[in-house]
Protein backbone atom coordinates (compact mmCIF):
# COMPACT_ATOMS: atom_id res chain seq x y z
CA UNK A 1 0.00 0.00 0.00
CA UNK A 2 2.90 2.36 0.46
CA UNK A 3 3.30 2.34 -3.31
CA UNK A 4 -0.16 3.78 -3.82
CA UNK A 5 0.42 6.29 -1.07
CA UNK A 6 3.75 7.23 -2.66
CA UNK A 7 1.96 7.78 -5.95
CA UNK A 8 -0.23 10.30 -4.18
CA UNK A 9 2.49 12.03 -2.26
CA UNK A 10 5.25 12.08 -4.84
CA UNK A 11 8.41 14.00 -4.10
CA UNK A 12 7.43 16.85 -6.39
CA UNK A 13 4.09 17.18 -4.60
CA UNK A 14 5.78 17.24 -1.23
CA UNK A 15 8.25 19.80 -2.50
CA UNK A 16 5.45 22.07 -3.71
CA UNK A 17 3.65 21.50 -0.42
CA UNK A 18 6.64 22.50 1.68
CA UNK A 19 7.63 25.43 -0.54
CA UNK A 20 4.53 26.63 -2.32
CA UNK A 21 5.09 29.01 -5.26
CA UNK A 22 3.01 32.14 -5.65
CA UNK A 23 3.06 32.87 -1.95
CA UNK A 24 3.85 36.56 -2.38
CA UNK A 25 0.82 38.84 -2.39
CA UNK A 26 0.50 41.14 -5.37
CA UNK A 27 0.64 44.94 -5.42
CA UNK A 28 -1.46 45.37 -8.53
CA UNK A 29 -4.57 43.18 -8.40
CA UNK A 30 -6.88 42.98 -11.40
CA UNK A 31 -8.90 40.00 -10.24
CA UNK A 32 -9.48 38.53 -6.83
CA UNK A 33 -11.28 35.33 -6.03
CA UNK A 34 -11.62 32.89 -3.20
CA UNK A 35 -12.10 29.18 -3.41
CA UNK A 36 -13.52 26.82 -0.88
CA UNK A 37 -13.92 23.12 -0.65
CA UNK A 38 -16.80 22.88 1.80
CA UNK A 39 -16.33 19.18 2.38
CA UNK A 40 -12.70 19.51 3.42
CA UNK A 41 -12.57 23.06 4.64
CA UNK A 42 -9.73 23.86 2.22
CA UNK A 43 -9.59 27.57 1.46
CA UNK A 44 -7.75 29.44 -1.20
CA UNK A 45 -7.21 33.11 -1.88
CA UNK A 46 -6.15 34.14 -5.34
CA UNK A 47 -4.93 37.44 -6.79
CA UNK A 48 -4.24 37.95 -10.48
CA UNK A 49 -2.46 40.71 -12.29
CA UNK A 50 -3.33 40.86 -15.98
CA UNK A 51 -1.47 42.13 -19.00
CA UNK A 52 -3.32 42.06 -22.32
CA UNK A 53 -5.78 39.54 -20.95
CA UNK A 54 -2.97 37.24 -19.95
CA UNK A 55 -1.95 36.32 -16.44
CA UNK A 56 1.07 38.47 -15.69
CA UNK A 57 1.44 37.51 -12.05
CA UNK A 58 -0.50 35.46 -9.57
CA UNK A 59 -0.75 34.93 -5.83
CA UNK A 60 -2.12 31.68 -4.47
CA UNK A 61 -2.69 31.55 -0.74
CA UNK A 62 -3.93 28.14 0.21
CA UNK A 63 -4.89 26.68 3.59
CA UNK A 64 -5.31 23.03 3.01
CA UNK A 65 -3.84 19.61 2.65
CA UNK A 66 -0.72 18.63 0.75
CA UNK A 67 -2.77 17.98 -2.36
CA UNK A 68 -4.57 21.30 -2.56
CA UNK A 69 -1.52 23.31 -1.59
CA UNK A 70 0.77 21.62 -4.08
CA UNK A 71 -1.82 21.76 -6.83
CA UNK A 72 -2.17 25.50 -6.20
CA UNK A 73 1.58 25.88 -6.23
CA UNK A 74 1.89 24.02 -9.55
CA UNK A 75 -0.83 26.29 -10.90
CA UNK A 76 1.05 29.39 -9.82
CA UNK A 77 4.10 28.09 -11.60
CA UNK A 78 2.33 27.15 -14.81
CA UNK A 79 -0.15 29.87 -15.65
CA UNK A 80 2.08 32.93 -15.87
CA UNK A 81 1.83 34.44 -19.34
CA UNK A 82 -1.19 32.30 -20.22
CA UNK A 83 -4.54 33.55 -21.54
CA UNK A 84 -7.95 32.44 -20.30
CA UNK A 85 -8.32 29.89 -23.06
CA UNK A 86 -4.89 28.47 -22.36
CA UNK A 87 -5.61 28.29 -18.62
CA UNK A 88 -8.88 26.53 -19.38
CA UNK A 89 -7.06 23.98 -21.48
CA UNK A 90 -4.59 23.29 -18.70
CA UNK A 91 -7.45 22.97 -16.22
CA UNK A 92 -9.10 20.47 -18.58
CA UNK A 93 -5.85 18.57 -18.67
CA UNK A 94 -5.71 18.49 -14.88
CA UNK A 95 -9.26 17.13 -14.77
CA UNK A 96 -8.48 14.51 -17.39
CA UNK A 97 -5.38 13.38 -15.53
CA UNK A 98 -7.29 13.18 -12.26
CA UNK A 99 -9.98 11.08 -13.89
CA UNK A 100 -7.57 8.89 -15.81
CA UNK A 101 -8.94 10.14 -19.13
CA UNK A 102 -6.84 11.02 -22.19
CA UNK A 103 -5.46 14.53 -22.00
CA UNK A 104 -6.34 17.16 -24.65
CA UNK A 105 -3.86 17.68 -27.45
CA UNK A 106 -1.38 20.52 -27.47
CA UNK A 107 -0.81 20.87 -23.76
CA UNK A 108 2.61 20.50 -22.26
CA UNK A 109 1.76 18.23 -19.37
CA UNK A 110 5.03 18.88 -17.59
CA UNK A 111 4.74 19.02 -13.80
CA UNK A 112 1.04 18.23 -14.05
CA UNK A 113 1.82 14.57 -14.46
CA UNK A 114 2.57 14.29 -10.77
CA UNK A 115 -1.10 14.87 -10.09
CA UNK A 116 -1.95 11.59 -11.78
CA UNK A 117 -1.43 9.51 -8.66
CA UNK A 118 -4.36 11.30 -7.05
CA UNK A 119 -6.85 9.48 -9.25
CA UNK A 120 -6.56 6.46 -6.94
CA UNK A 121 -7.99 8.64 -4.17
CA UNK A 122 -11.33 9.93 -5.45
CA UNK A 123 -12.02 12.08 -2.39
CA UNK A 124 -8.80 13.98 -2.91
CA UNK A 125 -9.54 14.87 -6.53
CA UNK A 126 -11.53 17.87 -5.32
CA UNK A 127 -8.53 19.11 -3.37
CA UNK A 128 -6.44 19.09 -6.52
CA UNK A 129 -9.14 20.87 -8.51
CA UNK A 130 -9.83 23.69 -6.09
CA UNK A 131 -7.20 26.15 -7.31
CA UNK A 132 -7.97 25.48 -10.96
CA UNK A 133 -11.69 26.03 -10.55
CA UNK A 134 -11.05 29.21 -8.62
CA UNK A 135 -8.81 30.61 -11.34
CA UNK A 136 -11.00 29.62 -14.29
CA UNK A 137 -14.08 31.08 -12.57
CA UNK A 138 -12.22 34.30 -11.94
CA UNK A 139 -10.96 34.68 -15.48
CA UNK A 140 -14.31 33.78 -17.02
CA UNK A 141 -16.23 36.23 -14.88
CA UNK A 142 -13.69 38.93 -15.58
CA UNK A 143 -14.06 38.38 -19.31
CA UNK A 144 -17.82 38.71 -19.02
CA UNK A 145 -17.42 41.81 -16.92
CA UNK A 146 -19.00 40.11 -13.93
CA UNK A 147 -17.80 39.92 -10.36
CA UNK A 148 -16.96 36.67 -8.72
CA UNK A 149 -16.11 36.31 -5.09
CA UNK A 150 -16.30 32.66 -4.30
CA UNK A 151 -15.82 29.39 -6.09
CA UNK A 152 -16.43 26.00 -4.60
CA UNK A 153 -15.73 22.42 -5.48
CA UNK A 154 -17.39 19.58 -3.78
Amino acid sequence: MNEQLDELYRDIIMDHYRNPRGKRKLDKIDIRNEGKNPVCGDEIEMQVELEDDKVKDIHVGCMGCAISVSSGSILAEMVKGKSLSEVKKIAETVKALLRGEPVPDGVDVGDLEVLEGIKQFPVRVKCALLSWTTLVDALESHEKGKDVTLSTTE
Binding site: K36, P38, V39, P122, V123, R124, T152, E154
Partner: protein
Protein backbone atom coordinates in the same frame (compact mmCIF):
# COMPACT_ATOMS: atom_id res chain seq x y z
CA UNK B 1 -31.16 -13.52 -15.30
CA UNK B 2 -32.95 -16.34 -16.96
CA UNK B 3 -36.39 -14.95 -16.33
CA UNK B 4 -36.74 -13.51 -19.78
CA UNK B 5 -37.64 -15.20 -23.01
CA UNK B 6 -37.66 -13.30 -26.23
CA UNK B 7 -40.95 -13.65 -28.07
CA UNK B 8 -41.39 -13.80 -31.81
CA UNK B 9 -42.03 -10.09 -31.94
CA UNK B 10 -38.52 -9.37 -30.63
CA UNK B 11 -40.32 -8.19 -27.58
CA UNK B 12 -39.32 -9.41 -24.16
CA UNK B 13 -41.94 -11.27 -22.17
CA UNK B 14 -41.69 -12.09 -18.55
CA UNK B 15 -42.64 -15.38 -17.03
CA UNK B 16 -43.88 -14.88 -13.48
CA UNK B 17 -43.52 -18.56 -12.70
CA UNK B 18 -39.78 -18.38 -13.27
CA UNK B 19 -39.09 -15.11 -11.55
CA UNK B 20 -41.10 -16.07 -8.48
CA UNK B 21 -38.03 -18.04 -7.42
CA UNK B 22 -36.23 -14.75 -6.93
CA UNK B 23 -38.69 -13.69 -4.21
CA UNK B 24 -38.16 -15.73 -1.05
CA UNK B 25 -41.28 -14.46 0.71
CA UNK B 26 -43.49 -16.09 -1.91
CA UNK B 27 -42.68 -19.44 -0.31
CA UNK B 28 -44.46 -18.42 2.85
CA UNK B 29 -47.58 -20.15 4.03
CA UNK B 30 -50.34 -17.97 5.40
CA UNK B 31 -52.88 -19.77 7.54
CA UNK B 32 -51.70 -23.00 6.00
CA UNK B 33 -52.14 -21.77 2.42
CA UNK B 34 -49.63 -20.55 -0.14
CA UNK B 35 -49.25 -16.79 0.10
CA UNK B 36 -50.99 -15.01 -2.75
CA UNK B 37 -49.69 -11.48 -2.45
CA UNK B 38 -52.04 -9.01 -4.12
CA UNK B 39 -51.16 -5.90 -2.12
CA UNK B 40 -48.48 -4.57 -4.44
CA UNK B 41 -49.83 -1.07 -4.65
CA UNK B 42 -49.10 -0.76 -0.92
CA UNK B 43 -45.61 -2.20 -1.20
CA UNK B 44 -43.97 -4.85 -3.35
CA UNK B 45 -41.92 -7.83 -2.28
CA UNK B 46 -38.14 -7.85 -2.70
CA UNK B 47 -35.92 -10.12 -4.77
CA UNK B 48 -32.88 -11.90 -3.34
CA UNK B 49 -30.56 -9.41 -4.99
CA UNK B 50 -31.98 -6.53 -2.96
CA UNK B 51 -31.89 -8.44 0.32
CA UNK B 52 -28.37 -9.63 -0.40
CA UNK B 53 -27.27 -6.13 -1.24
CA UNK B 54 -28.29 -4.94 2.22
CA UNK B 55 -26.35 -7.75 3.82
CA UNK B 56 -23.31 -7.08 1.69
CA UNK B 57 -23.40 -3.38 2.44
CA UNK B 58 -23.40 -3.90 6.20
CA UNK B 59 -20.87 -6.71 6.06
CA UNK B 60 -18.34 -4.99 3.81
CA UNK B 61 -18.88 -1.31 3.19
CA UNK B 62 -20.85 0.36 5.92
CA UNK B 63 -19.65 3.89 6.69
CA UNK B 64 -21.05 7.37 6.66
CA UNK B 65 -20.92 9.03 3.26
CA UNK B 66 -19.46 12.18 1.73
CA UNK B 67 -17.05 13.40 4.34
CA UNK B 68 -14.86 10.37 4.75
CA UNK B 69 -11.24 10.09 3.76
CA UNK B 70 -11.06 6.40 4.51
CA UNK B 71 -11.72 3.44 2.25
CA UNK B 72 -15.07 2.37 3.68
CA UNK B 73 -16.43 5.89 3.46
CA UNK B 74 -15.29 6.14 -0.15
CA UNK B 75 -16.87 2.84 -1.06
CA UNK B 76 -20.12 3.67 0.70
CA UNK B 77 -20.25 7.07 -0.99
CA UNK B 78 -19.62 5.64 -4.40
CA UNK B 79 -22.30 2.96 -3.96
CA UNK B 80 -24.73 5.58 -2.66
CA UNK B 81 -24.09 7.89 -5.63
CA UNK B 82 -24.15 4.98 -8.05
CA UNK B 83 -27.83 4.40 -7.28
CA UNK B 84 -28.51 8.05 -7.95
CA UNK B 85 -27.07 7.64 -11.44
CA UNK B 86 -29.18 4.55 -12.04
CA UNK B 87 -32.30 6.37 -10.97
CA UNK B 88 -31.44 9.29 -13.25
CA UNK B 89 -31.19 6.84 -16.14
CA UNK B 90 -34.29 4.91 -15.17
CA UNK B 91 -36.63 7.86 -15.52
CA UNK B 92 -35.33 9.05 -18.85
CA UNK B 93 -31.72 10.10 -18.51
CA UNK B 94 -31.77 13.20 -16.37
CA UNK B 95 -28.91 14.80 -14.45
CA UNK B 96 -27.87 13.38 -11.09
CA UNK B 97 -28.19 16.92 -9.73
CA UNK B 98 -31.91 16.54 -10.35
CA UNK B 99 -32.31 13.38 -8.26
CA UNK B 100 -32.95 13.97 -4.57
CA UNK B 101 -33.20 11.15 -2.06
CA UNK B 102 -36.19 11.31 0.28
CA UNK B 103 -37.93 8.79 2.56
CA UNK B 104 -40.63 8.23 -0.03
CA UNK B 105 -43.17 9.87 -2.30
CA UNK B 106 -44.84 11.56 0.64
CA UNK B 107 -41.69 13.32 1.77
CA UNK B 108 -40.83 14.22 -1.81
CA UNK B 109 -44.14 16.03 -2.25
CA UNK B 110 -43.83 17.70 1.15
CA UNK B 111 -40.38 18.92 0.16
CA UNK B 112 -41.93 20.69 -2.82
CA UNK B 113 -44.79 22.05 -0.71
CA UNK B 114 -42.37 23.47 1.88
CA UNK B 115 -39.47 24.64 -0.27
CA UNK B 116 -41.19 25.67 -3.46
CA UNK B 117 -44.80 26.09 -2.33
CA UNK B 118 -44.29 28.35 0.64
CA UNK B 119 -42.19 30.69 -1.48
CA UNK B 120 -44.29 30.72 -4.64
CA UNK B 121 -47.92 30.20 -3.69
CA UNK B 122 -49.75 33.35 -2.69
CA UNK B 123 -53.28 34.31 -1.79
CA UNK B 124 -55.57 33.92 -4.75
CA UNK B 125 -53.24 31.53 -6.57
CA UNK B 126 -54.70 28.29 -7.73
CA UNK B 127 -53.45 24.76 -7.17
CA UNK B 128 -55.02 22.14 -9.41
CA UNK B 129 -55.34 18.53 -8.30
CA UNK B 130 -57.64 15.70 -9.32
CA UNK B 131 -60.38 13.88 -7.49
CA UNK B 132 -58.33 10.72 -7.43
CA UNK B 133 -55.29 11.92 -5.49
CA UNK B 134 -53.65 9.96 -2.71
CA UNK B 135 -53.48 11.80 0.63
CA UNK B 136 -49.78 12.32 -0.04
CA UNK B 137 -50.67 14.58 -2.95
CA UNK B 138 -53.66 16.12 -1.25
CA UNK B 139 -53.04 16.98 2.37
CA UNK B 140 -49.83 19.01 1.78
CA UNK B 141 -51.79 21.22 -0.64
CA UNK B 142 -54.87 21.48 1.58
CA UNK B 143 -52.62 22.77 4.35
CA UNK B 144 -50.68 25.09 2.05
CA UNK B 145 -53.92 26.49 0.64
CA UNK B 146 -55.20 27.13 4.16
CA UNK B 147 -51.95 28.84 5.15
CA UNK B 148 -51.67 31.05 2.10
CA UNK B 149 -55.26 31.63 1.06
CA UNK B 150 -54.67 29.86 -2.23
CA UNK B 151 -57.52 28.06 -3.94
CA UNK B 152 -57.69 24.32 -4.61
CA UNK B 153 -59.43 23.04 -7.71
CA UNK B 154 -60.03 19.43 -8.60
CA UNK B 155 -60.22 17.94 -12.07
CA UNK B 156 -63.29 15.67 -11.81
CA UNK B 157 -63.45 12.04 -12.82
CA UNK B 158 -66.05 10.44 -15.03
CA UNK B 159 -68.01 7.25 -14.35
CA UNK B 160 -65.16 5.12 -15.64
CA UNK B 161 -62.72 6.78 -13.26
CA UNK B 162 -60.98 8.73 -16.03
CA UNK B 163 -60.24 12.44 -15.78
CA UNK B 164 -62.82 14.69 -17.45
CA UNK B 165 -60.63 16.67 -19.78
CA UNK B 166 -63.31 18.77 -21.47
CA UNK B 167 -63.57 21.69 -19.09
CA UNK B 168 -59.89 21.90 -18.41
CA UNK B 169 -59.43 25.53 -19.42
CA UNK B 170 -61.83 26.54 -16.67
CA UNK B 171 -59.82 24.61 -14.13
CA UNK B 172 -56.25 25.19 -15.24
CA UNK B 173 -56.90 28.91 -15.51
CA UNK B 174 -54.36 31.76 -15.62
CA UNK B 175 -53.98 32.07 -11.84
CA UNK B 176 -52.85 28.47 -11.59
CA UNK B 177 -49.38 28.11 -10.12
CA UNK B 178 -49.21 24.35 -9.77
CA UNK B 179 -50.86 21.32 -11.31
CA UNK B 180 -50.19 18.25 -9.22
CA UNK B 181 -51.55 14.96 -10.48
CA UNK B 182 -51.00 11.29 -9.94
CA UNK B 183 -49.64 9.47 -12.96
CA UNK B 184 -51.53 6.34 -11.99
CA UNK B 185 -54.31 6.05 -9.43
CA UNK B 186 -53.67 3.64 -6.57
CA UNK B 187 -57.42 3.00 -6.28
CA UNK B 188 -58.79 3.09 -9.83
CA UNK B 189 -55.67 2.11 -11.70
CA UNK B 190 -56.30 4.99 -14.10
CA UNK B 191 -53.31 6.23 -16.06
CA UNK B 192 -53.62 9.97 -16.43
CA UNK B 193 -52.53 12.05 -19.45
CA UNK B 194 -49.80 13.81 -17.51
CA UNK B 195 -47.98 14.96 -20.61
CA UNK B 196 -51.02 16.80 -21.85
CA UNK B 197 -51.66 18.19 -18.39
CA UNK B 198 -48.08 19.42 -18.17
CA UNK B 199 -48.54 21.23 -21.46
CA UNK B 200 -51.72 22.88 -20.21
CA UNK B 201 -50.02 23.79 -16.94
CA UNK B 202 -47.04 25.33 -18.69
CA UNK B 203 -49.30 27.25 -21.05
CA UNK B 204 -50.65 29.02 -17.97
CA UNK B 205 -47.24 29.50 -16.45
CA UNK B 206 -47.86 26.85 -13.82
CA UNK B 207 -45.51 24.09 -12.77
CA UNK B 208 -46.39 20.42 -13.09
CA UNK B 209 -45.79 17.90 -10.32
CA UNK B 210 -46.44 14.24 -11.04
CA UNK B 211 -47.02 11.73 -8.25
CA UNK B 212 -45.33 8.70 -9.77
CA UNK B 213 -45.66 6.33 -6.81
CA UNK B 214 -47.77 3.92 -8.86
CA UNK B 215 -46.40 4.62 -12.33
CA UNK B 216 -42.61 4.30 -12.12
CA UNK B 217 -42.91 0.72 -10.82
CA UNK B 218 -45.21 -0.30 -13.65
CA UNK B 219 -44.56 1.83 -16.74
CA UNK B 220 -41.63 3.12 -18.71
CA UNK B 221 -41.51 6.70 -17.47
CA UNK B 222 -39.63 9.51 -19.17
CA UNK B 223 -39.89 12.68 -17.14
CA UNK B 224 -38.33 14.75 -19.90
CA UNK B 225 -40.88 13.57 -22.42
CA UNK B 226 -43.69 14.35 -19.96
CA UNK B 227 -41.94 17.64 -19.28
CA UNK B 228 -42.71 17.31 -15.57
CA UNK B 229 -41.16 19.93 -13.33
CA UNK B 230 -41.27 17.58 -10.34
CA UNK B 231 -41.74 13.85 -10.29
CA UNK B 232 -41.96 11.79 -7.08
CA UNK B 233 -41.86 8.07 -6.36
CA UNK B 234 -40.97 5.41 -3.75
CA UNK B 235 -38.42 2.59 -3.94
CA UNK B 236 -40.49 0.24 -1.79
CA UNK B 237 -43.22 0.04 -4.42
CA UNK B 238 -40.76 -1.13 -7.08
CA UNK B 239 -38.84 -4.01 -5.48
CA UNK B 240 -36.61 -1.70 -3.44
CA UNK B 241 -36.26 -1.29 0.33
CA UNK B 242 -38.50 0.82 2.54
CA UNK B 243 -37.26 4.26 3.52
CA UNK B 244 -36.10 5.52 0.12
CA UNK B 245 -37.95 7.81 -2.23
CA UNK B 246 -36.97 10.06 -5.06
CA UNK B 247 -37.82 13.60 -5.96
CA UNK B 248 -36.87 14.52 -9.48
CA UNK B 249 -36.90 18.25 -10.11
CA UNK B 250 -35.71 20.36 -13.00
CA UNK B 251 -32.31 21.76 -12.20
CA UNK B 252 -33.13 25.43 -12.66
CA UNK B 253 -36.17 25.11 -10.41
CA UNK B 254 -34.30 23.25 -7.69
CA UNK B 255 -31.49 25.81 -7.90
CA UNK B 256 -33.90 28.57 -7.00
CA UNK B 257 -35.55 26.74 -4.13
CA UNK B 258 -34.66 27.09 -0.48
CA UNK B 259 -33.61 23.89 1.29
CA UNK B 260 -36.13 21.80 3.22
CA UNK B 261 -34.36 20.18 6.15
CA UNK B 262 -31.26 21.84 7.56
CA UNK B 263 -28.15 20.27 9.03
CA UNK B 264 -25.02 18.45 7.96
CA UNK B 265 -24.28 17.60 4.31
CA UNK B 266 -26.58 20.27 2.94
CA UNK B 267 -24.39 23.24 3.81
CA UNK B 268 -21.25 24.67 2.28
CA UNK B 269 -20.38 26.95 5.16
CA UNK B 270 -21.82 27.64 8.58
CA UNK B 271 -21.05 30.50 10.91
CA UNK B 272 -22.74 31.25 14.21
CA UNK B 273 -25.19 33.57 12.46
CA UNK B 274 -25.28 32.41 8.88
CA UNK B 275 -25.22 29.36 6.65
CA UNK B 276 -24.63 28.83 2.93
CA UNK B 277 -26.03 25.91 1.02
CA UNK B 278 -24.29 23.08 -0.72
CA UNK B 279 -24.88 22.50 -4.43
CA UNK B 280 -27.48 20.16 -5.91
CA UNK B 281 -28.62 17.56 -5.07
CA UNK B 282 -27.06 17.67 -1.58
CA UNK B 283 -28.69 20.99 -0.73
CA UNK B 284 -31.85 18.98 -0.12
CA UNK B 285 -30.28 16.07 1.75
CA UNK B 286 -29.65 17.14 5.33
CA UNK B 287 -28.10 14.71 7.77
CA UNK B 288 -27.01 11.14 7.36
CA UNK B 289 -29.12 9.72 4.54
CA UNK B 290 -30.61 6.25 4.42
CA UNK B 291 -27.39 4.95 2.93
CA UNK B 292 -27.86 1.18 3.00
CA UNK B 293 -31.32 1.28 1.48
CA UNK B 294 -30.26 3.71 -1.23
CA UNK B 295 -27.44 1.31 -2.08
CA UNK B 296 -29.86 -1.64 -2.11
CA UNK B 297 -32.25 0.22 -4.41
CA UNK B 298 -29.74 -0.27 -7.25
CA UNK B 299 -30.31 -4.04 -7.62
CA UNK B 300 -34.07 -3.36 -7.72
CA UNK B 301 -33.54 -1.02 -10.66
CA UNK B 302 -31.23 -3.58 -12.27
CA UNK B 303 -33.90 -6.22 -11.87
CA UNK B 304 -36.54 -4.09 -13.57
CA UNK B 305 -34.10 -3.03 -16.27
CA UNK B 306 -33.26 -6.65 -16.97
CA UNK B 307 -36.92 -7.54 -17.31
CA UNK B 308 -37.55 -4.43 -19.37
CA UNK B 309 -40.29 -2.04 -18.37
CA UNK B 310 -42.22 -2.86 -21.51
CA UNK B 311 -42.40 -6.48 -20.52
CA UNK B 312 -43.45 -5.44 -17.01
CA UNK B 313 -46.25 -3.37 -18.50
CA UNK B 314 -47.32 -6.11 -20.92
CA UNK B 315 -47.60 -8.67 -18.16
CA UNK B 316 -49.59 -6.24 -16.08
CA UNK B 317 -51.99 -5.49 -18.91
CA UNK B 318 -52.51 -9.17 -19.43
CA UNK B 319 -53.14 -10.09 -15.82
CA UNK B 320 -55.29 -7.01 -15.22
CA UNK B 321 -57.44 -7.72 -18.28
CA UNK B 322 -57.87 -11.26 -17.08
CA UNK B 323 -58.74 -10.15 -13.55
CA UNK B 324 -61.27 -7.60 -14.80
CA UNK B 325 -62.93 -10.24 -16.94
CA UNK B 326 -63.08 -12.84 -14.17
CA UNK B 327 -64.32 -10.35 -11.56
CA UNK B 328 -67.03 -9.13 -13.92
CA UNK B 329 -68.46 -12.67 -13.84
CA UNK B 330 -69.35 -12.11 -10.19
CA UNK B 331 -72.46 -10.02 -10.54
CA UNK B 332 -72.58 -9.03 -6.87
CA UNK B 333 -69.30 -7.15 -7.23
CA UNK B 334 -68.87 -3.56 -8.24
CA UNK B 335 -65.47 -3.04 -9.88
CA UNK B 336 -64.04 0.46 -10.10
CA UNK B 337 -61.85 2.16 -12.68
CA UNK B 338 -61.38 2.01 -16.45
CA UNK B 339 -62.32 -1.23 -18.15
CA UNK B 340 -59.79 -0.90 -20.96
CA UNK B 341 -56.32 -1.89 -19.79
CA UNK B 342 -54.80 0.59 -22.23
CA UNK B 343 -55.86 3.27 -19.76
CA UNK B 344 -55.05 1.57 -16.51
CA UNK B 345 -52.57 -0.31 -14.40
CA UNK B 346 -52.98 -3.29 -12.13
CA UNK B 347 -54.65 -1.82 -9.04
CA UNK B 348 -58.20 -3.19 -9.09
CA UNK B 349 -60.63 -1.96 -6.45
CA UNK B 350 -64.00 -3.56 -5.94
CA UNK B 351 -66.76 -4.08 -3.41
CA UNK B 352 -69.10 -6.92 -2.76
CA UNK B 353 -72.52 -5.33 -2.35
CA UNK B 354 -73.25 -7.40 0.74
CA UNK B 355 -69.94 -8.08 2.42
CA UNK B 356 -67.99 -5.26 4.01
CA UNK B 357 -64.50 -4.94 2.49
CA UNK B 358 -62.85 -5.57 5.87
CA UNK B 359 -64.73 -8.79 6.33
CA UNK B 360 -63.84 -9.72 2.80
CA UNK B 361 -60.15 -9.01 3.40
CA UNK B 362 -60.16 -11.05 6.59
CA UNK B 363 -61.84 -13.89 4.78
CA UNK B 364 -59.38 -13.77 1.86
CA UNK B 365 -56.50 -13.75 4.33
CA UNK B 366 -57.80 -17.00 5.77
CA UNK B 367 -57.26 -18.35 2.24
CA UNK B 368 -53.71 -16.97 2.10
CA UNK B 369 -54.72 -14.09 -0.15
CA UNK B 370 -53.40 -10.65 0.83
CA UNK B 371 -55.54 -7.79 -0.45
CA UNK B 372 -56.01 -4.37 1.07
CA UNK B 373 -59.32 -3.01 2.30
CA UNK B 374 -60.02 0.56 3.27
CA UNK B 375 -59.96 4.00 1.74
CA UNK B 376 -56.43 3.43 0.38
CA UNK B 377 -55.38 6.87 1.57
CA UNK B 378 -57.79 8.50 -0.83
CA UNK B 379 -60.82 9.33 1.33
CA UNK B 380 -62.22 12.07 -0.89
CA UNK B 381 -62.14 9.72 -3.86
CA UNK B 382 -63.94 7.03 -1.87
CA UNK B 383 -66.64 9.53 -1.01
CA UNK B 384 -66.80 10.58 -4.64
CA UNK B 385 -67.35 6.93 -5.55
CA UNK B 386 -70.04 6.71 -2.89
CA UNK B 387 -68.26 4.20 -0.70
CA UNK B 388 -66.37 4.30 2.57
CA UNK B 389 -63.92 1.66 1.65
CA UNK B 390 -63.16 -0.88 -1.03
CA UNK B 391 -61.18 -4.06 -1.36
CA UNK B 392 -58.21 -3.79 -3.66
CA UNK B 393 -56.18 -6.43 -5.44
CA UNK B 394 -53.04 -5.05 -7.05
CA UNK B 395 -50.68 -7.03 -9.24
CA UNK B 396 -47.00 -7.11 -9.95
CA UNK B 397 -44.50 -9.06 -11.98
CA UNK B 398 -44.67 -12.25 -9.91
CA UNK B 399 -48.45 -12.60 -9.95
CA UNK B 400 -50.02 -15.31 -12.12
CA UNK B 401 -53.35 -15.95 -13.80
CA UNK B 402 -53.74 -18.88 -11.48
CA UNK B 403 -53.62 -16.53 -8.53
CA UNK B 404 -56.39 -14.48 -10.11
CA UNK B 405 -58.44 -17.68 -10.39
CA UNK B 406 -57.84 -18.40 -6.73
CA UNK B 407 -58.95 -14.90 -5.81
CA UNK B 408 -62.17 -15.37 -7.75
CA UNK B 409 -62.80 -18.74 -6.13
CA UNK B 410 -62.26 -17.27 -2.68
CA UNK B 411 -64.62 -14.40 -3.43
CA UNK B 412 -67.29 -16.94 -4.31
CA UNK B 413 -66.55 -18.84 -1.14
CA UNK B 414 -66.91 -15.65 0.88
CA UNK B 415 -70.42 -15.33 -0.48
CA UNK B 416 -71.21 -18.81 0.76
CA UNK B 417 -69.64 -18.01 4.11
CA UNK B 418 -71.22 -14.62 4.80
CA UNK B 419 -74.45 -14.75 2.81
CA UNK B 420 -75.33 -18.43 3.02
CA UNK B 421 -75.36 -18.63 -0.76
Amino acid sequence: MDTITTSKKEHKQLDPMILRDDFPILNRKINGKDLIYLDNAATTQKPWSVIESLRRYYEYQNANVHRGLHTLAEEATSAFENTREKVAQFIGGVKTEEIIYTRGTTEAINLVAYSWGRKNIKEGDRIVLTEMEHHANLVPWIVLAKETGAELRYIPIDVDGMLQMDNLDQIIAPDTKLVSVTHMSNVLGTINPVKELAERAHAQGALMLVDGAQSVPHLQVNVKDIDADFYAFSAHKMLGPTGVGILYGKEEILENMEPFNYGGEMISEVRFDHADWNSLPWKFEAGTPNIADAVAFAPALDYLNDLGMEAVREHEKEITAYALRRLSELKYLRVFGPTDVKHRGGAVSFIDREIHPHDLATFLDSRGIAVRAGHHCAQPLAKRLGVVSTARASFYIYNTMEEVDKLVEALKEARRYFCNE
